[in-house]
């Protein structure tokens, strides 16, 4: 019997004789171990409690990334970050500090992770590394403390489901709309405990930013990791033709229309047209799901030379410092600024009540972030949509079906 991609990747990170069939428990070698400002202090605390001053397994493959409350807006987070910094210094661990941006994106840009690697940390969207063919996984602070010390952990080999995307994305459709279409089909637990392989022409046509958007939302489908099968995947990791899938589904996106996820969860997906005309108060652009240069460039192309609706407060949060630099150099930043956007330093934005972008009670927000659970982005109502839908909505001041300009 052939192997799926996750089986091949795991087989390369465990004992040669170990069986990697779904349900098997293996010891998984972890190439990179990280913690962020959220959870990081708890990792340090667990580490000290159980290992004292003992050195981590390999400081060169261990990192902190501060991205949630960056720079800190409250004293407890400032304390936690400083605690991590001092401990990292004592251990010889590098810190990507509050100026760097979202850890998972920094890892890709700085070459901390490569296709075929295993990468863990205290960020539940680390599985977006599936976009480049790596196994990324969010874990709790005990798991990560253990990983810092041992460089490995136990893992149950998940079954793989195959999702085939037929057709071609057409404007104004984006990778986010494709992702929402998958969420609509699978629901909040359609991939529970599973790995996903995304196949098909629509997947092969996605760029890295688009693959990140899709892979980051696998968490919201209940899945562990999603691999968009593209040319980025080394041939040694490509699934065998006779690989065993627990389920195979096909989604045709030929007629895909812009989609939006309404409260109270990311899987509550509807066509944008059903909500067209709903007045909005704010727009958020960014997050690990849609915080790439390409996402903001798409927005700039729409808003160039225009002003946002006067009652709409709209915020741009680049994923990383490098993305920020690209925005500066390309003129996209200036376009967004002149249209009326608030431009923030890089980071996670409103997730975990952190960086910025909270909503107040009764506030209606269109956001390119990844979750809209009650209270997640504040007390208001968060609607999740593509940067293109968000841009049109920001201009009109209401939820708007994007148009295609000739």
């Amino acid at each position: 019997m052939g192997k799926t991609m996750i089986q091949k990747l795991f087989a390369a990170h465990t004992a040669p004789e170990a069986s990697v069939e779904p349900g098997d428990i293996i010891w998984l070698d972890l190439d990179v171990r990280t913690a962020r400002d959220f959870g990081g202090a708890n990792v340090v605390q667990n580490y000290r409690e159980h290992y004292g001053d003992a050195p981590v397994a390999d400081p060169r493959r261990t990192f902190f990334t501060f991205d949630l409350v960056a720079p800190p807006s409250n004293i407890p987070y400032a304390n936690n970050q400083q605690l991590c910094r001092e401990w990292a210094r004592s251990q010889g661990i590098r810190v990507y500090d509050v100026n760097a941006g979202i850890g998972s994106h920094v890892a890709i840009e700085e070459g901390l992770v490569h296709a075929g690697d295993t990468f863990v940390g205290t960020d539940s969207h680390l599985n977006l590394l599936g976009a480049m063919g790596a196994f990324g996984q969010g874990m709790g602070d005990q798991d990560i403390a253990f990983a810092f010390k041992s460089g490995r952990t136990w893992f149950e080999v998940p079954p793989t489901m195959k999702v085939v995307l037929q057709g071609t994305l057409r404007a104004p459709g984006t990778a986010r709309d494709l992702t929402l279409a998958v969420l609509q089909r699978l629901g909040a637990d359609g991939a529970l405990g599973r790995a996903i392989e995304f196949h098909g022409p629509a997947i092969e046509a996605l760029d890295l930013a688009g693959r990140i958007t899709l892979a980051s939302q696998v968490t919201e489908m209940g899945g562990l990791i999603g691999f968009p099968i593209s040319e980025a995947i080394p041939s040694s990791l490509l699934p065998d033709h006779d690989a065993n899938y627990i389920e195979s589904i096909e989604i045709d996106i030929t007629e895909l229309e812009p989609l939006i996820a309404c409260p109270p969860n990311p899987a509550n997906v509807h066509p944008v047209r059903e909500l067209a005309g709903k007045r909005i108060d704010s727009v958020f652009l960014g997050s690990c799901t849609n915080g790439r240069f390409e996402d903001f460039a798409a927005v700039a192309a729409i808003v160039k030379g225009q002003q946002l609706a006067p009652h709409v407060m709209a915020t741009v949060v680049p994923a990383t410092r490098r993305v920020y630099a690209q925005l500066l150099a390309s003129g996209v930043l200036e376009t967004l600024f002149e249209a009326g956007f608030i431009i923030s330093n890089p980071g996670c934005g409103g997730c975990a009540s952190g960086h910025l972008g909270m909503t107040g009670k009764g506030e209606v927000q269109v956001s390119t972030s990844n979750r809209n659970f009650p209270g997640k982005q504040g007390a208001g109502q968060t609607y999740l949509a593509s940067p293109v839908t968000a841009a049109w909505s920001a201009l009109r001041g209401e939820i708007t079906v994007p148009e295609v300009r000739a």
Partner: protein, 177 residues
């Protein structure tokens, strides 16, 4: 050895409409505004305080109580606090149709018993808050009020071993020497 069979008072997490709560995410269990807390003993008061209708759970729960919920309990983030807050309250086990993947790991690694009960949604009307439930982690047998029997999943091998060792750190010492 820690006990592999426990008995406790049940809390059935239902929505206002009476349905078993599905997709209870980690922000409903332990909201992100408390994430700066690092001491387990301080996490108890915030358990479920962002779950509609259950905001006062922490004041009503007693050590040894059991929790029952629907599918995908613990969806969302990787925060350990969403597990540790139940340790702080002394919750003896959580029984659900299914669990979020990261949540399940976090609970297993910290020695909090999770009992997966496929088919629970169909029989959920049999259970009420206040029922006394016995659950056997080795066999998956579940008994309500001493008479009515149900079948949940037994612990997996690694789950039982970590539970018996106490937590992942102790288990790591056992298996790697």
């Amino acid at each position: 050895m820690r006990p592999t069979q426990i008995t406790g008072r049940l809390w059935v997490l239902r929505e206002a409409a009476g349905r078993l709560y599905n997709d209870i995410d980690t922000d409903m269990i332990f909201h992100n505004r408390y994430l700066h807390i690092t001491e387990v003993t301080q996490m108890g008061p915030y358990a479920l305080d962002n779950l509609k209708g259950w905001e006062d759970f922490a004041r009503r729960a007693r050590p040894g109580d059991l929790i029952m919920a629907g599918s995908n309990f613990g969806a969302g983030s990787s925060r350990q606090q969403a597990v540790d807050c139940f340790h702080a309250l002394g919750i003896a086990a959580i029984i659900a149709e299914s669990f979020g993947a990261i949540y399940k790991r976090n609970a297993i690694n910290s020695g909090l018993p999770l009992v997966t009960f496929p088919g629970l949604t169909e029989v959920a009307s049999r259970f009420e808050s206040g029922d006394i439930v016995t659950v056997d982690f080795c066999t998956g047998a579940l008994i309500r009020n001493g008479v009515e029997r149900f079948q949940a999943q037994p612990f997996s091998k690694v789950q039982l071993e970590i539970y018996q060792a106490g937590n992942l750190f102790e288990y790591g010492k056992v298996v790697t020497g």
